[in-house]
């Protein structure tokens, strides 16, 4: 299998509320996987479980770096009391065992937020440098060398600025580089958040409603940006989105959630015509309610 992320039997309870119920899906390497569903379906909860911000009540979330053969060791890793398993040809991670910052640092899963979370009082460039914290920290000898100007921190910082510059050019923010992030217009803030996530050098980019609040033109530009991230930078994308023009145009694989349960899983064309999906989004006619409920299992 060419899977990158494998979610199995993911369940998340908040007290008596069952936010995600026994969800399983796979996101393949090099794919754009969309996670859609009506409001309150539990999409962001799934994101928070994958990125380590929530500890799932049950389930396994595995992510593989390197050769597909590392998946053979999934059961070995699960039985061990370890977060990851390193092999010569790759590494396997169990994300539900890792704290949030290690999911980003080691497993290389980057994310954006539904309500934009930029460092608004820092400049655009500083936002992108903070994203490269871990490699820069090593280059500065964990501050101990950098404070005395020993070592190659200067060179590392210039390289980091060059990397930031590349993403600024790609997102069209270069001439705003020295402005505070909080001063940018809304669409630019969304792009900056994606650029910041990409500066962490991820293998999987999780975008939580990146097109929310964008006009049709900006949405189209965003679609292009996401496609380029996938094609040019070989980064797989997991996408939560309500804007169906974006979802249907760019995603390779769509997972539909409703009330925390997966109701459809497949290529966009198939999902679009799935009666359960249509029912979840648009509802059904009164006379069909009983039939559909029986099908969905309510």
């Amino acid at each position: 299998m060419n899977g990158l992320l494998q979610v199995e039997h993911l369940t998340m309870r908040f007290g008596g509320l069952l936010a995600v119920n026994d969800l399983s899906f796979t996101a393949n390497r090099g794919d754009i996987t969309a996670l859609i569903g009506p409001n309150g379906a539990g999409k962001t909860t799934v994101f928070n479980c994958i990125t380590g911000f929530y500890k799932p009540s049950e389930g396994r979330i595995a992510l593989a770096h390197g050769a597909p053969q590392v998946w053979d060791d999934l059961e070995v890793l699960t039985r061990r009391d370890a977060r990851s398993l390193v092999r010569p040809d790759g590494t396997l991670f169990l994300l539900e065992r890792m704290p949030d910052y290690l999911v980003a640092q080691r497993a290389k899963v980057a994310r954006t937020f539904q309500n934009i979370r930029l460092f608004s009082g820092m400049s655009v460039l500083e936002n992108l440098l903070v994203a490269q914290h871990n490699p820069l920290m090593v280059a500065s000898g964990y501050t101990a060398l950098g404070i005395f100007g020993i070592g190659n921190y200067g060179r590392a910082e210039r390289a980091a600025i060059a990397e930031a510059r590349r993403w600024l050019d790609l997102t069209g923010l270069t001439d705003r580089a020295d402005d505070p992030a909080g001063d940018l217009p809304y669409g630019a803030q969304r792009r900056l958040e994606i650029a910041r996530a990409m500066c962490t050098d991820p293998v999987l980019l999780c975008l939580d409603e990146p097109a929310a609040g964008l006009n049709p033109r900006e949405s189209a530009d965003l679609s292009d940006l996401i496609l380029r991230i996938r094609t040019d930078h070989k980064v797989s994308v997991l996408l939560i989105e309500h804007d169906m023009s974006v979802v249907m145009n760019i995603s390779d694989h769509v997972v539909v959630l409703d009330y925390g349960v997966k109701i459809a899983d497949g290529p966009p064309g198939a999902v679009r015509d799935d009666p359960k999906v249509i029912a979840a989004y648009l509802g059904v006619e009164d006379k069909e309610v009983g039939k559909v409920e029986a099908e969905v299992g309510l």
Binding site: F53, Y101, R117, E126, Q132, H133, T143, D178
Partner: protein, 457 residues
């Protein structure tokens, strides 16, 4: 017919001044108008101080009148003038001033002892060096240290004096019991204080905002109470006396034959010791400032500021926020420890009395008034707050106005509060409210304080 509107303006100004005089009278009547004194029969009697009270009321009425008739129209005219679009030029001139300020200020403080001795003579300069120079610089240094925790990392710390105390007691005890020299113990005191910074950091990692503030406040009190009650080690309330003084590479500053003055063939004077101490604390303050400036350009400094802006975003970028917070606490505490060791060496006597919450509050006020995160702002605020209170001692002229039993230092807290309210009204984000980005791609820009978050956990 242009006079009638002007007349009504004046009438309104007087009416307004009268109203504020009335408010001032009501406010100051219990505060200043009455006073309890013990007479020779040990009975408490009430004494009135009408001249003083009316003096205050008159000052306020006159000030309000001045504001209404002169300052307010002037500000209005100035506002109209500034609305004319010459903003770019104004901006450039101001940034030139800002760029030249720090080097000029450093030049002045380097030359300060020479200026003080030249103006006041060797005898008179002692007060200027000790009360104004050294005292202010200790608080500048404490302000710089706390600035790392509160201003950069956005962690509200109300117990900073604890680290100052740890540094002071570390130096005093180790110097007395093991005879180690000041310059050996200075880093050691800093390291011990940093260690206690970590001790405080661990339990408060999960706390934010008000809760963080309360626990740090409690931590400061715990350290003070330990110092009071652990009598075998700290000697309790009595404190530690005759703490060894720093020496000039082994040469003590005393009147003996091996003393500094004798060795260098100078006439003995206590001023040499003060000049020496002045340059030590100046060096320490400059070191703190230099280290902070460098740290801001390193990933750890940027992570502190990012932590202040948004902790969740930090974690999503793979930053270990636990370590980041702990380094902020430890480094801030370390500088507090340096200042504490210097304080003990300068006073020669320390007791828990010197490390009350009031000190924490003063240092925090300096950081907040200065503008959180701004080095220049903190330095200016320290000069104003500490220099201001010291300057009150010098205002003996006021005795001729208010009578011989008038003691201006008694009004310290009143003026303190007034100044703080005034600054917070005029500049709610502190004296220097803009933030300088640590790195720039195309041009250096300042970031308005309204966008910078305050953090606090």
């Amino acid at each position: 017919m242009t006079t009638p509107p002007a007349e009504t303006d004046i009438a309104r100004a007087f009416k307004d001044a009268g109203f504020w005089a009335l408010v001032a009278f009501g406010l100051f009547l219990p505060l200043i108008g009455f006073r309890t004194v013990q007479d020779i029969h040990n009975e408490v009697t009430l004494e009135t101080r009408w001249p003083l009270l009316f003096g205050f009321v008159a000052i306020i009425a006159a000030g309000r009148l001045l504001h209404n008739l002169v300052i307010a129209p002037w500000r209005e005219r100035r506002g109209q003038r500034l609305a004319v679009p010459t903003a770019a030029g104004v901006q450039r001139r101001r940034s030139l001033f800002a760029g030249a300020f720090a080097p000029c200020a450093i030049g002045f403080v380097l030359a300060y002892p020479a200026i003080a001795i030249w103006l006041a003579g060797a005898g008179g300069a002692a007060k200027w060096l000790d009360n104004f120079g050294i005292q202010i610089l200790i608080y500048v240094m404490l302000g710089f240290g706390l600035n790392i925790v509160v201003g950069l990392a956005g962690l509200l710390d109300l117990g900073y004096v604890a680290f100052y105390a740890v540094g002071a007691y570390s130096y005093a005890l180790l110097a007395q019991n093991f005879g180690l020299s000041f310059f050996m113990l200075l880093p050691l005191a800093g390291i011990l204080a940093a260690f206690w910074g970590l001790m405080l950091g661990f339990p408060v990692l999960r706390l934010r905002g008000d809760y963080l503030a309360i626990v740090t406040l409690a931590f400061g009190e715990i350290i003070r109470l330990v110092l009071i009650n652990w009598v075998p080690v700290t000697n309790g309330y009595a404190g530690i006396t005759s703490v060894p003084r720093p020496t000039f590479f082994g040469i003590p500053f005393n009147a003996s034959d091996e003393g500094f003055a004798a060795v260098f063939g100078l006439e003995f004077s206590p001023i040499y010791r003060l000049v020496f101490l002045y340059y030590i604390i100046l060096g320490l303050a400059l070191l703190t400032s230099f280290v902070t400036v460098r740290l801001r350009r390193l990933p750890v400094g940027r992570a502190w500021e990012a932590l202040r802006e948004d902790e969740i975003a930090c974690r999503s970028l793979g930053i270990n926020t636990t370590n980041t917070k702990l380094t902020a606490f430890a480094i801030g505490a370390g500088f507090g420890g340096f200042a504490g060791a210097f304080f003990a060496a300068r006073q020669g006597f320390i007791s828990p009395e010197s490390f009350t919450f009031m000190e924490s509050a003063t240092v925090l006020a300096i950081v907040v008034l200065g503008g959180m995160g701004s080095q220049v702002g903190v330095a200016i605020a320290a000069v104003a707050m500490i220099g201001g209170t010291e300057a009150l001692r010098e205002l003996d002229v006021l005795k001729q106005v208010f009578g011989s039993d008038f003691d201006p230092t008694q009004y310290r807290m009143l003026l303190f509060g007034l100044a703080m309210v005034l600054i917070m009204v005029v500049r709610p984000r502190g004296l220097i409210s803009t933030r300088q980005a640590s790195v720039h791609l195309l041009e250096r820009k300042t970031i308005s304080g309204t966008l910078v978050r305050e953090g606090h956990g």
